[in-house]
Amino acid sequence: MDTFVQQLINGLTIGSIYALIALGYTMVYGILRLINFAHGDIYMVGAYAGFMLAVALGFSGEPSAFGFAVTLIGAMAIAAAIGMAIERFAYRPVRKYSKMTTLITAIGMSLLIEYLFIFFFSPTPRSFPQLLPVGSVTLFGNATISTSQILIFVVSLLLMGLLQWIIFRTKMGKAMRAVSFNITSAKLMGINTDFVIAFTFALGSALAAAGGVLTAQYNPKIDPLMGIMTGLKAFVAAVLGGIGNIPGAVLGGLLIGAAETLVVGYGGYIGIPSTYRDAVAFAILIVVLLVRPAGLLGSNIQEKV
């Protein structure tokens, strides 16, 4: 029982990170119908931006809440700017073309970011400094929850709440919902769709960067290719919850994270070795898409003829 609780805590920790990244995928898909393959790399950019900031501002020496907050917000701002730049210079010119073209542009962008980071930071992993005091709380039984795990839960909950507020309580959020509903009509109603799309990219990128910094507190090894697998799984999470659906992305992320750690912990009993860890997300994805293609919370949209 204790180990089960422990596994669940670990799984939900990873799941919250997936959820943060999945939100960006789902928002961009909701608005542009574009699978933004570069989004996983923005998560990596966020981790590196946090690393550079923490080292440059000297937060690596003594852990403090202030240092962590500055690093987190700084990394989110940098990633938001990069996300907007990517949208402006790569995606906007190809928006009117076919789906294949936009998808290849996204893949090209992903490769570009990865290779640029390999060029500038070398492919060797770096160690992210610990920005907050380390410790752990023992729950009932022997299950423990470390401070970095608590941090991940609290910060991601706060960010998700903030996102919910932006989307459903602000004028900008209303515009975002309008654009994702029907981009042409939104334009006719006087919404500056280009700005709304740029804002969506900024928002998604900031969340991914937060995910990057938080992961680095939990698992301090960062490298230029860390975004590939995590990004792919976060994308699976977005599809699982119903792509374009924001609560769905969070639910999908948590489910994928939990399923992954549970397979690592208990898969051996039912004949699934723990090395299948990375396959779990994809297996879930395939089953969901074949049984319920719109995802768990998504509504089934009939394609127009």
Binding site: I107, D278, A279
Partner: protein
């Protein structure tokens, strides 16, 4: 001259040319003229990539089904055939010793190719039947997911080396790889020109209209998927028996993306476009490797290290400037004809 004589002559010329190329790649060369190992390797990878690109083009370009898991089927073909040659290859080669060295290994390679193609086609059938009900992005994601699962499952099979990699006897030479490349191009070209091909293109243009005209869309979609997978399997077999070493890292989804990039750069739905794309995507990073270093003050900028960055930039710029790819759905021949006609109109006078 009757057409079969013409084809026969073309066939003989092509095989002779391949034979000369094959000889040129050995240490002694063809009467002293030869390419070095590096150039030979590049030629082989171009040929294998042509097989992959044209076969994916059948699925993506002509049938319009968005598959991004081609590397998975390549992996299935590679590992299935490699398991065969590792288990029975040696014994077969010895029992066929009367055919000589080249003869016996060639027979074993041909059996391996058949095995790789059949197993990959079966996998294509298993993946295709459920997934092809989905459309667009969803189909893309499911094929990507299947390819990753295939890779992870192979990674966990200890009989084929698992995470340490898998040694394979090097039975494939350039002659065989060239012949299979030509067979692939010819077969897929003929499929596209046949009534099956018409049905596939009608599905790409408008699936509902095709269905209304009596095309069994599900059957044709699965057919094209299975054929495409079989050729991907053949590419895998050739890769395995040329490279002499397999590792699942060679079949990550980035490999599938590479094949997609080839057909998109060349022009989706164009045979010559896919071939052109395969050549460009294989050669470009190698050409960029030759970039010089530039000395600026105390720091040296190694432009060669930036080659993959430049490659990605070129990819993005191609999409922005020419989203339909270099050739679009046209073939190189169409352009040549237009060029000739323009020549005739001026009566050869400027």
């Amino acid at each position: 001259m009757s057409s079969w004589v013409k084809s026969l002559i073309i066939g003989i010329v092509v095989i002779a040319a391949l034979y000369v190329l094959n000889a040129m790649m050995s240490a002694t060369g063809f009467f002293g003229v030869g390419v070095n190992d590096y150039q030979g390797r590049l030629l082989v990878f171009i040929a294998i990539n042509i097989i992959l690109a044209t076969s994916l083009n059948l699925i993506n370009g002509f049938t319009g089904q968005f598959s991004i898991g081609h590397a998975g089927f390549m992996a299935v073909g590679a590992y299935a055939s490699a398991y065969f040659t590792n288990t029975y290859g040696e014994a077969l080669v010895q029992s066929l010793a009367f055919l000589g060295d080249t003869g016996s290994t060639s027979v074993v390679l041909l059996i391996a190719v058949v095995i790789g193609a059949v197993v990959a086609a079966l996998m294509g059938l298993i993946v295709g039947i459920p997934s092809l009900r989905l459309k667009g992005d969803y189909l893309a994601i499911v094929t990507l997911g299947f390819a990753e699962i295939i890779r992870i499952v192979i990674l966990n099979i200890d009989a084929v080396g698992g995470a340490t990699g898998y040694q394979v006897p090097g039975y494939a030479n350039f002659l065989w790889i060239g012949i299979f490349t030509i067979i692939t191009v010819v077969v897929i070209h003929n499929i596209v020109k046949s009534d099956t091909g018409r049905a596939l293109i009608s599905i790409r243009e408008d699936e509902l209209a095709a269905e209304a005209m009596g095309v069994n869309t599900t059957r044709y979609k699965v057919t094209s998927f299975v054929i495409g997978s079989a050729f991907a399997g053949i590419a895998g077999v050739l890769f395995a028996h040329y490279n002499k070493f397999l590792h699942t890292n060679d079949f990550q989804f980035i490999r599938s993306f590479e094949i997609i990039i080839m057909i998109v750069i060349g022009g989706m739905g164009s045979m010559t476009g896919a071939i052109l794309g395969a050549i460009i995507v294989t050669l470009l990073p190698e050409i960029l490797r030759q970039l010089p270093d530039i000395q600026l003050g105390a720091t040296t900028f190694k432009f060669a290290d930036l080659r993959l960055v430049i490659f990605a930039l070129i990819l993005i710029l191609t999409m922005i400037v020419r989203p339909q790819g270099i050739l679009g759905t046209a073939e190189i021949g169409t352009y040549l004809k237009r060029f000739r006609r323009a020549d005739k109109n001026t009566g050869g006078l400027k």
